[in-house]
Symmetry: C2
Subunit: 332 residues, 2 copies
């Protein structure tokens, strides 16, 4: 396509994950909703951290993970997000650039620290997230580089941005620029609780501005306030051109203009840590769409990337996804 | 023993490891001596970091890793080392305390940053370390708490401390306090290049002040300027009461008062990252000695802990060593 420098540009929170293991009692003790993400204040993040076991720090952030996944497939990706001028900010910026993602945002000094997320992994491999947003709350319109948006085939936005008014403005601005440049807009609903907080606005945006929707079962049923996945799937089919709905062990469903494609999960030896499963599914799917693959192949690339990420700790790939994709293509 | 609060107290550099993978060419390009540790300045650490791939951050530091290992076996451990009041300092302090090690050192504000080590792991699992000492260079006599030393059965010192005059003074002070309180002094030679820098002083210290010596093949042969391990082993037998010499895949040799005990390696499915192998061997060995095990058992606990640590990324145990020790005791 003319003037395209990036297959996908992501906008989201720039986060370093602090990953530790805990039992279910720990989650109860800290009122952490298992399997979900919640925002915590500076005091709460300290109180959880003081109580949790030793951690491992790995760069994270939902849309950032997805961009790293796209680059790992060999795609051209860029990311917009805010970091502070501290150790974690340097770690985030280094890791995303070292992964081959364009990251132009300058660190901010003397304000809040870089965002961090305490990720508690229970013995079943499920992750529960406690995010302290820090400097990410400063992400606003000024961060959205119109030239970069126009130079991207797809603009990918994380729903988490809706938790802050300034970020929401930046989000809407990015959507407008992309649409007027004829680019596609993709959205992930991010989290069931997040959908609960912004249901009306998400539905409005999906009807008027989103070309590609990514959501898991929890999120899509929350969006339509139903307990029935099939019910939600039928409703989303009417409201958007293309949706990829992930269902954990049940695989995923792609819905597009009357088509419905069931995608199986990619086998994984052991579920170690589910962190990033949705982010990496999105990476494979968007990489497939951006590079002109058919929907079924795009979905399979999503499953492949999700399988890689849940087989180890952290939400950044340890094995080049381009290698895995090649192996898969040869064996298929 | 009377007045004993800690089985072992360690004194060393408080470091956060930044672990990434690279090929051998990368090491050549950055003049990094494969398999060794070198000190780098602020400029060099940035230039290597800018060039290396995405990393994972895990608390490290040689003696600190050993203390965490001892606590993981169920032993009582304390650590003395210096951190700054930054993200990495908070990570280090959290992780060591969360692992059950007493760590009383207060963070220092407004001076150098917390020490970090860029650890480059090559495809063969070997690690090459580039340490930027930062605030660790401020570790001096003031840090050595005489009460804590007197309350510890063994004082464990890392040879790396000899690289800085102030730390060396603190080191010697700790030795004196321990000896006059009737406690044992243990020393690790740390690294072949480190031995090369301080050979005379190390030999002097071993003859006059060290009860338990830990060294790998590279270090012990460097100490006696010989290519022959057996030659070095015979010489160390004369100069110290107890030495545990590790030989990577060849296992280890314990030498004590005319005895020589060969300890096999503990089997490991896959060598992922050799970082911390020596530190964790020391943990098992010192835990065994401190809790009155015979030398062969102490050595086997060392092998067990080393096997755990090389089977994953990072130098802090992922599985409680007390569990592994129990399994091993039951199967033996």
């Amino acid at each position: 396509m003319n003037g395209i420098r990036y297959d996908v540009i992501g906008i989201g929170n720039a986060i370093v994950d602090i990953i530790g293991r805990c039992d279910d009692d720990f989650l109860v003790r800290h009122d952490a909703p298992k399997g979900n993400m919640r925002l915590v204040d500076a005091e709460t993040v300290v109180s959880i951290y003081d109580d949790m076991g030793p951690g491992v720090e790995i760069s994270g952030g939902s849309a950032a993970n997805t961009m790293v996944g796209i680059a790992s497939f060999g795609g051209r990706a860029a990311f917009i997000g805010k970091v502070a001028d501290d150790d974690f900010g340097k770690v985030f910026a280094h890791d995303i650039r070292a992964a081959g993602v364009e990251f132009a945002s300058a660190p901010v000094s003397g304000k809040a620290p870089t965002s961090r997320c305490l990720i508690l992994v229970t013995p079943d491999g499920e992750r529960t997230m406690n995010t302290y947003l820090g400097i990410s709350t400063e992400l606003d319109q000024g961060e959205v580089d119109p030239d970069a948006i126009r130079a991207s085939g797809i603009v990918y936005l994380e729903g988490y941005l809706f938790d802050r008014p300034e970020a929401k403005t930046a989000f809407r601005q990015a959507v407008e620029i992309a649409r007027s440049a004829g680019r596609k807009v993709a959205l992930t609903l991010s989290d069931g609780f997040c959908v609960d907080r912004h249901r009306g606005e998400f539905r409005d945006l999906i009807r008027n501005g989103v070309d590609i929707l990514l959501a898991n079962e929890d999120e899509i049923t929350s969006l339509y306030k139903t307990d029935d996945f099939e019910d939600a799937a039928q409703r989303v089919a009417v409201e958007t051109d293309l949706a990829a709905l992930t269902r954990s062990a049940k695989g995923s469903v792609i819905i597009s203009k009357g088509q419905r494609i069931e995608i199986p999960v990619h086998p994984v030896e052991r579920l170690v840590d589910s962190t990033g499963a949705g982010d990496l599914y999105a990476a494979g799917f968007l990489y497939g769409i951006a590079t002109g693959k058919d929907l079924a192949t795009a979905g399979r690339l999503g499953s492949l990337a999700a399988a890689e990420i849940i087989s180890h700790v952290g939400a950044r790939p340890e094995t080049p996804l381009s290698d895995l994709a090649l192996d898969w293509a040869q064996s298929a």
